[in-house]
Symmetry: C2
Subunit: 351 residues, 2 copies
Amino acid sequence: MSVQKTATDTTSSVSLTLDEARDLAIAALTRRGADNRNARAVADIMIRAERDRCASHGLFRLQGYCASLDSGKVDGAAHPTLHDMAPGVLKVDGKGGFAPLALELGLPALADRARQQGVAVLGLTDIYHFAALWPEVETLGELGLCGLAMTQASPMVAPAGGTKPFFGTNPLAFSWPRPGQDPFVFDQATAALARGEIMIMARDGHDAPDGAGIDPDGNPTNDPAKILEGAQLPFGGYKGSNIALMIELLAGALIGSVFSVESGRQDNKDGGPPVGGEFILAMDPSRFGDAGWAAHTEVLFKELEAIGVSRLPGTRRRLARQETPSQGIRLPKALYDTVQDLAVGNDTDGD
Amino acid sequence: MSVQKTATDTTSSVSLTLDEARDLAIAALTRRGADNRNARAVADIMIRAERDRCASHGLFRLQGYCASLDSGKVDGAAHPTLHDMAPGVLKVDGKGGFAPLALELGLPALADRARQQGVAVLGLTDIYHFAALWPEVETLGELGLCGLAMTQASPMVAPAGGTKPFFGTNPLAFSWPRPGQDPFVFDQATAALARGEIMIMARDGHDAPDGAGIDPDGNPTNDPAKILEGAQLPFGGYKGSNIALMIELLAGALIGSVFSVESGRQDNKDGGPPVGGEFILAMDPSRFGDAGWAAHTEVLFKELEAIGVSRLPGTRRRLARQETPSQGIRLPKALYDTVQDLAVGNDTDGD
């Protein structure tokens, strides 16, 4: 660990190895009652983001995870259980714990089932999901499978035709395997913008773009502070709204979990994640009868390249992970201080 | 059948019963070599749209269907075959015919498989799809299943980061069952606008909205004629583009069908549909372990109503179908004349 001020940046930052970062996260979680398995799984999901230089889902989330252990909302020692519902349907009951351990239990079983059946679904219930969705679909992609994941959240987004927060940012993530290379992966909110982007616009006095949200009276506004009081809007108007509603039905009604409005009402607003569920579909292309599917996939990406589209979603993440294992990561000093306090400070009720 | 001029509309229209409309369609198709089963299936899909007053997918499509029989591109006597690929995967080889008969063969088998497995996929290959996607998912919804359908088309839409037509309008349709009432259904293109809407704007001298498309040089334009020469754009920017790309992978690489760019190159531009495939996923909510799923679904729609969203996608179609079986439909005179010519005129090479 080393503190540096760069010539071009007066904000000091701290460099850490990925292992140092992981150890801090595990320390912070375990002193709040998380057991070893949960602490490691949660730390791993944050470090996977740090490895890819996705700061928004990295150690920046540690405070929220810790807050939900401190408040007693989340069980840091939850033992998720796997259930066989139907030949193509698995369920993991998260038992009120964070999502990562439930995913570690469910994803390998889902992959096996998808290979057996051609297609399978994993529903996760009673989990607290505070990470991006790309890790789970990327994992499936690296196993040679196509993955599709969706989750709800606290209500922040108004549906088309409505003016009150109803949907979560309801992300949808997709992966497609490319044997011998990185899978194609995207992960996108059905909200027009991430909540965090609007908060930064409000802080910096910038206008939000058209279509980002509405004020508490339901009128379109470019004032980010008013959007935060009112509601965000879905991406792409009514079409994005329909996709957000589909996600409520699949990650809520189908798998036996809550809707965003229900989750929001239950939440104690401790700054951590709300309770929810997750829908994950996996398909094995090798079971669909076209032995040339992988070569055919490359035709598509070559055709895209031929019209000038060579940068696919996730490219920046993939480049970052080639560097961070040796170069380490750099945390803003303020975030580092927070992480350090959470891990070893005296300002918590950790033991 | 009766020709009328209304007081408020100087354009004359012709009223027909649904059976009269179906008979005309069947006559037009069979005299071009379609066998009885294909002619009836194709006519039924058009009449289902007319019944719902979806003019754009009704008898308006007959000319295109007939053109593809006249040109020899589509086999009007195709015998689609059903194949069992894996416990959760079925395939229908359309054998170069129109999609409706392939769907009639595949959908009941898909529904059975979804009930057995919890989730199943039907891939349709070597079909010519010229209809909306809502009929197939609505059928699944009425059977108590959740449906998700996607198909590619001729390239008309530029991907995010590109300036040339690459995706079809790549629609996505979804249904969710609501036992005792109509399923929730949406069907939407991943293009920002339907091709037909842009054609009408060009005809009427209206501007296209921002984000609808780009000119042949790749610059944003509101000139609909320039968009038709250039490329349409996806809905919702890069997020819609990612969904369009997902549809290429699922309705192309996964099921062993063509991509939109491949389909476009093969097409003889006879005015009918291009060759393609279709991906249809079906899930049985009763196999996911939450016996209260249907009641829980109604909670979601009641919550939506409570914030003022009572009009769901498909409402207008559902209202129309309560009227058209008794009241019949009304075709613009010009369309009626075209249909009549196709059915009984001397201007074709039908026998």
